[in-house]
Amino acid sequence: MGKTVKVLLAGEGGQGVQSVAQIIAEAANEEGREALYIPNFGVEQRGGVSVAYLQIGDEPIGAPKFLTGDIVIALSDRAVHRTRQYVGPQTLFVYDSSIENIEDALPANAKKILAIPALDVAKKELHPRVFNIIIMGAVVKATEVVSEADAKKAIEKKLGYKFEKNPKLRELNYKAIERGMELVARAM
């Protein structure tokens, strides 16, 4: 039995970190594992950095939030600044390589830092709308908390009604998962 994996996702509102965390949590639950997902929320509807806390394990999950993540993913400049505090010597820190002039702000104490071109791939190769699904693929690969097949099943469950109308969307989303996984695999 592995220990509980703690994942922190942060980005701008609209980048989809909450939906990614929720879909992965649901996929883990479907696999019969223990999962807990909690969003940060406040009075603002827009404008803040959106943070999602996700934990997956085989034992019931303890406190809903944590001080140090095993994997911390920051998708914007502000998100990098906001999430540095969650990084420790065992943390894998992942950020989007399109964030400019961020080198000095990157956490110095991380176990490993990965820059992945998720935004670029979304814009140039696939579609900006599947950016969050690419990120989901990256999280799935980096954490190995759920299998690729179950991640796809979870997307099917969430967006299946849209795929029925337009099967090409399914293809696009599956491709996005796969590309996200590849980006992490290559960077590792």
Partner: protein
């Protein structure tokens, strides 16, 4: 119309607010009265979405004063009624809950605590403990369950209706913004299929027979002309409450027998405390875990026994000593030293509890 909201048992993955709505349906609650406030809004949302399918009802009122009084009215009319609120809404709710104490009305209130004082944050706290246990102008004649997991949120919401209708004191399920918004797995079930008897509601007024001849007259009052009359009525209430207290007080504990220090917490913070105590035990620290599930009444007997044999209590809570105040009263005269770990309006993690215990141990 669908018959039962839940057939048999089902493992689900949802937010705590959704859990409460399902539990109220499963407990055969007939009507919810409410006024929106974060972070409990989705209890209303899910209830209003699901309730009509099962012949249940909802009334949105103009504020929480009204939501509390209409809930009391629903109960007087013999309906299983409940409401849900948070923060400043809970403050307004204290006036009708005080009347519910005076008239012994089994209203059920779910509270999802947020930061205070005043509007503060819509996020999370454990700062509604004093208000929920002792609020209103009165004597705290109420029951408060503090839940820690979604499973408990389901179990104790169902239990709250039974406790309320059995003992006729207002009953609260005390959650918080984290429990409201987080998602985790639990098993929802039909309580009757598990052998849980759901007590039926009954109308307070219009019972058959001649008052004073066939049955005692129904006098439900919150006003008295004479001091002595109020005093006499309250003595009866206190007697009922004292008799009930040991029957319903609940707690959870482990590793306390040989512990030098026991971490005491309630609600969602006890998840961090539990993880910390397990970790510290594995590292050789003589620590224990104690968690009151009922904050009102507290498990006084067990707390006093623990306070008599343990050197130190570490009280961890997301408030500035609201749980500690209750514990101090319960353990008055016990030799135990009470150490604070207060983080008002902020969550407490496992790592922080571990660090604090190590710091105390030196």
């Amino acid at each position: 119309m669908a018959d039962k909201p839940i057939e048999g048992e089902k493992r689900v993955f949802m937010t705590g607010n959704e859990v409460v709505a399902w539990a109220a349906l499963a407990a055969k609650a007939e009507i919810m009265y409410g006024y929106p406030i974060t972070p409990q809004n989705e209890i209303m949302h899910y209830w209003t979405r699901m309730a009509p399918k099962f012949g249940r009802e909802f009334l949105q009122t103009e504020d929480e004063l009204s939501a509390g009084f209409t809930t009391a009215g629903g109960v007087l009319a013999g309906r299983k009624a409940f409401t849900a609120t948070a923060g400043p809404g809970n403050t307004l709710m204290q006036e009708p809950m005080s009347m519910a104490e005076a008239m012994r009305l089994p209203v059920v209130v779910v509270v999802q605590q947020r930061g205070g004082p005043s509007t503060a944050t819509v996020i999370y706290s454990q700062q509604e403990v004093t208000m929920t246990t002792m609020g209103g102008n009165g004597e705290g004649l109420r029951v408060v369950y503090s839940t820690a997991t979604h499973q408990e949120l389901f179990d104790y919401t169902i239990k709250a209706f039974n406790t309320a209708w059995k003992y006729r004191f207002p009953t609260f399920v005390l959650g918080d913004g984290y429990q409201a918004k987080m998602r985790e797995s639990l098993t929802i079930y039909d309580p009757e299929a598990r052998g849980v008897t759901l007590l039926p509601a009954e109308a307070y007024l219009g019972k058959p027979g001649t008052p004073g001849v066939d049955r005692p007259p129904a006098q439900y009052r919150n006003t008295y002309n004479v001091e002595e009359e109020l005093y006499e009525v309250l003595q009866g209430y206190f007697k009922d409450y004292e008799k009930m207290a040991p029957e319903i007080a609940e707690f959870d504990a482990f590793d306390t027998e040989d512990a030098d220090l026991v971490v005491i917490s309630h609600g969602v913070v006890s998840r961090a405390a539990k993880g910390a105590v397990k970790e510290l035990r594995a590292a050789g620290y003589k620590v224990g875990y104690f968690r009151p599930i009922t904050l009102r009444p507290l498990p006084v007997k067990e707390l006093r026994a623990l306070g008599g044999r343990t050197k130190q209590f570490l009280v961890a809570e997301s408030a500035n000593g609201q749980l500690a105040r209750l514990l101090k009263e319960a353990a008055y005269g016990c030799p135990v030293e009470m150490l604070p770990m207060y983080k008002p309006g902020v969550g407490i993690t496992t790592e922080e509890v571990v660090a604090r215990v190590k710091e105390i141990a030196g």
